[in-house]
Amino acid sequence: MEVKITINGQEVARDVEPRTLLVHFIRDTVGLTGTHWGCDTSNCGACVVLMDDKPIKSCTTLAAMCVGHEIRTVESLERDGQLDPIQMGFHEKHGLHCGFCTPGMLMTTRALLDSNPNPTEAEIRTAISGAICRCTGYKNIVSAVRWAAEHEAAMKQEA
């Protein structure tokens, strides 16, 4: 079947089987390998992308179900060579070691800051409770999100 999805603002049309999962459509069909394919059981959160601005697990969503919806992947965060504040936060606060969970963490926390620009530590931990990191122990990830929230607020004030 033809699946036509808007990914990072660009309409992409491909002929795929109905059983194609969104994560494989993004990675293998379209070639955007920033989204990671992890546990395959909707537990780990490495595959999180935004669907109409809400984080979803792309390993448990059919590509066919996304027709007519806007998908955003980690590749959309950097704009004109400028990293998103959330990416800068992960860089500044060492919010990653191996990096496998990072794309999902970035998209999950980007969505958090979009709906709640000044989250508490508890709110950050709740937001990422569906994302597993086996390296950092989450402390640095929480710091990274706080860093991003503070800097984003400061940047908005300057602008």
Binding site: R19, L21, H24, I56, A64
Partner: protein, 291 residues
Amino acid sequence: MQTPAPFDYERASTVEGAIASLAEHGPEARLIAGGHSLLPMMKLRLANPEYLIDINDLGELSYIEERITEIRIGALTRHHELLESELLARRAPVFRDAEEVIADPVVRNRGTIGGSLCQADAAEDLSAVCAALKAQVVIRGPSGERTTGMDGFYLGPFMTAVGADEMLTEIRIPLRAGAGSAHEKVERRAGDFAIAAVSAAVWVEGGTIADAGIALAALGPSTIIVSRAVEALKGKPPSEELFAQAGEIAEEDCMPVPDGRGPVDYKRHLASVLTVRALRRATARALQQEA
């Protein structure tokens, strides 16, 4: 790599169309909404539907509305909407209690109440919530609509009263005076299945419990409604002794099996403790004395 077996796919644009398609394609056709139970089962070949009817476009099934005597919830209402609903938090707070601990926030963006109930997984929280609240569910088929109570909804593990050519369209929560409700759950980590969970509702009139509902999740082959405990509560003033008595009955009447989440005696102990806690909190809410 886990991928479902091949199937044909259709996107429904009306409820009637979805039901007609179910009737046309027979028992190997399935509705898919959030897909967070069905797709994992398809990956594991525990479910092998040959035809999927995607109902995510049926916006007419997504609502939470207050009527005079009940709250009506459309089957396609997603977990995050139930969690965020101020109406439910005010009139049936057991929903918010449960939604805070159902899966994780990302999964809650997709999963729906209709899908949760129809999955009929014994460990699923909303089944216990709706059973405790004595909800009615509306089932639509080719020949029209019927309603059934939660006590007649579950036919066994993963089996419901919804026929192969039918669709759950609405959940109706009765609104009565003096209501309080709460959900208590113990889980190993965020997103895991419950080790045990209990939903309780009470309706307090003139200082006595006029009616109650208690339902257990993950403590038997299906959601368990503890009718014997409800009978023990009725007509009596709420007290710690009474809650303890209901807890003992829940401990006796549950049917847990040992697994990686714990042995039977531990789960029976949780049935008792969580029943007491849920009743305590439900009653405090009914009396507007919640700490």
